[in-house]
Symmetry: C2
Subunit: 447 residues, 2 copies
């Protein structure tokens, strides 16, 4: 297992590089280090000092513009006017919690459930995907009576204590005895194409068997269906046998939709829906409020009721007026403007463009995507498929210089993670391809 | 130990009362139950269906106005225009996370630290007090190498898995073996006035001894210095020997300032500051953003550095632009308008008024307060000090009818918890006293 964190350190500024910085940025980095905890990291070899954002663009303190292709929060656009207006209106009208009866939270819960399979019929609101996954694990453990959890080897599910315990990519040490990490369904490296679903399901079954041997009853299979931190593995039909194996072992299946949810993967709207499966619990967060903290756990009554009847739970901000108003405005934007269809269309155009690029750049080993979620795996050579980690670092830093924000993922931080917003125009997508091309060209020259 | 939750069930609507509701409210309660998880509770025998709020007042769907004296979030006033404007401006300008360099989070961290003792020199931002306490426990356990935690018997520190484990008032079952709950420093019921500090410290020391006997090294004493869910015990000079006892046992001291912080207790600004002590870690939340989810953990470098050097931690929304802008506007409001001094002044006026009331209502057993945080303990008779739980329920429901929102706390839900905002005027305070007087009068007649 890795001990460095691909999620948290795949693209990080190192303090010893401070002398290279502009005086303005350097001063702020120094003040920052003096007041924020040492866990804080900054992106890039030279941190990006942002002061403004609009639509698909962000601007730094030196007046430079960047195309944002790495944003999983402002997915309906930076400064989205409809969301700003909804939040301002709600803040002025009423901002209170869910122990007072309010229309907004009920209206939104109904609308949210209408995007999900009928079996998923109850919502609980939280402030972050971490809180949602924390609650989902509590529910799964309460309902099953077990504690054993199976996740993928580079999974990242959040920051609370029990959620970091099931997040191998953010681990500070070995996993707990009741958590097992398995390889994701990766047809490029681990599984032949034809057998990826069965191979993944076999790993799930074996992991629950091992947990049982260790004396841990099954609680949950916790899966991000786009496998975003594992390296982005969007092939469909990889999950159904795995879900069945988990359930056969007595586990609840939790789909962590923080990354793929809310139409990031296109018209399916939810990542798991692309696979034709229905989880027992779904968690969601990041893009839900376009920057206002709001997240949720949705579950089937059958899964949730035993916990709900026995365990008190209240979340002051979760389900409160303003986060809900933001979430509603975001959902209205996605559905009303058919941004899911836009994501599908832009995604196809980008996929074609990056696939074309792969003909010219032999460091591109594999191009994987669903909607506007891309993993572009870089290799030293295509035969041996050796991860090109250093090259990937060059690419994201040259891309920054070219005015394009992307990052990396996967166990060796060698897969470009490219996440344009749902609001991209064809011009934005064209610009993304041009800038990515230049970054790859400069990286190839530098290597 | 109690198995019902004073925090979560002290003031709850029961589903079997639905037939008494107005058709509009009843329809919403039914829709709500159909989509939200079964853990959700509503306040009051007849839920309050809120549609609007302004300043110190909230309004229901039937056009009725209520004086809000139970709000620990909107502490600078409902719909505070400065906070609304700051959020709107920030949402329009820039909304992104802390891995990009930004001025706002550094400016705010510096300002926040300036309100705290110099030893507390590092901030980490989260989305809720729960996340802040979850992180504080992780830090304490990492730094000490222990797991044992001592809390008070009705403590409530939040909703994540490990935080609910140290929240006896929200427990679904017995406490874990490595958590011990002790009686708070309660001069009314448990301790003679003169010995309250020593008695409390002795309980802390004994609890850590018991944990050691069970094989659990000390990790933390986790304390809300106003003991809000235990029944509000504001006497100063009760904490210093307890902190010393905890440290002698090898524990880190965590002050949970979610309830008393941000000038709720008056000019001290922080609850622990009234006691002349300095914790190792301070957590804060609820009123920090006046309804925008934002919270934080502040710690000494000495306590935080071992964790920070070893454990990756990132929080997408925590420390992001918009929550920070809200927090900054709230701090500006409190400091700029001297709302801490106002809380002190209004608190004294209310204290005098309620103390006068105690001469006329012999059900008032004890009046306790700091700033605008009140616990008014109700008893069957003053000699025997039998908790008047049913009477307290009558009072809060009659108060609702009279247009005053308050609630209850303590192990028997018999202490009125009254928390006016920092922005109360003398007229608001007068109205509070009038309405509380009428609620007590009606309850006395009904009993």
């Amino acid at each position: 297992m890795n001990t460095t964190s691909s999620i948290l350190d795949g693209n990080s500024f190192r303090a010893d590089a401070i002398d290279r910085l502009d005086p303005l940025d350097r001063a702020l980095v120094e003040r920052r280090a003096h007041v924020l905890g040492p866990s804080y990291r900054l992106f890039y070899r030279e941190p990006l000092h942002l002061v403004r954002a609009q639509g698909t663009r962000v601007y730094d303190a030196h007046g430079r513009e960047y195309l944002d292709a790495y944003n999983n929060v402002a997915s309906v656009g930076h400064g989205n006017p409809a969301v700003v207006a909804a939040v301002q209106k709600q803040m002025t009208a009423l901002s209170t919690h869910s122990r007072y009866l309010q229309d907004g939270v009920v209206d939104y819960a109904e609308r949210l459930l209408s995007t999900l399979p009928a079996a998923l019929d109850r919502v609980m609101f939280t402030n972050s995907g971490s809180e949602a996954n924390d609650l989902a694990l509590r529910v799964a453990r309460y309902t099953t009576g077990g504690t054993g959890v199976v996740v993928t080897s580079e999974a990242y599910h959040g920051t609370t204590s029990i959620v970091s315990d099931v997040s191998p990519s953010a681990a500070a040490g070995p996993l707990r005895d009741d958590v097992i990490a398995i390889a994701p369904p990766d047809p490029y490296r681990h599984d032949d194409d034809g057998t990826v679903a069965e191979a993944f399901a076999a790993r799930v079954a074996a992991a629950f068997d091992r947990l049982a041997e260790r004396g841990h009853r099954a609680a949950a299979l916790l899966i991000d269906s786009i496998f975003s931190s594992d390296g982005v593995f969007p092939a469909t039909d990889t999950l159904e046998p795995a879900f069945a194996a988990a359930r056969a072992a007595g586990a609840v299946v939790i789909a962590d939709e923080v990354q793929p949810g809310f139409a990031r993967v296109g018209e399916a709207f939810w990542g798991f829906a692309r696979h034709g499966v229905v989880p027992d619990i779904v968690t969601m967060g990041k893009p839900m409020g376009n920057g206002i903290p709001v997240a949720a756990m949705v579950a089937s009554s059958q899964t949730l009721d035993p916990f709900g009847a026995a365990v008190p739970y209240f979340n002051t901000f979760g389900g409160s007026s303003v986060p809900i108003a933001a979430a509603r405005a975001v959902l209205d934007e996605i559905v009303g403007r058919r941004l899911d269809a836009n994501a599908e269309r832009i995604g196809e155009m980008l996929r074609d463009g990056i696939t074309d690029m792969a003909e010219r750049f032999d460091r591109i080993g594999d191009v994987r995507s669903a909607g506007v979620y891309f993993g572009v795996e870089l290799v030293e050579d295509r035969q041996r498929r050796v991860p090109a980690s250093g090259f990937a670092q060059d690419v994201i830093n040259f891309a920054r210089d070219e005015g394009l924000l992307i990052s990396v993922c996967g166990p060796t931080s060698s897969t470009l993670k490219i996440r344009p917003m749902l609001t991209y125009t064809l011009d934005d997508a064209t610009l993304l391809l041009e800038r990515l091309d230049r970054a790859l060209t400069r990286s190839a020259r530098a290597s």
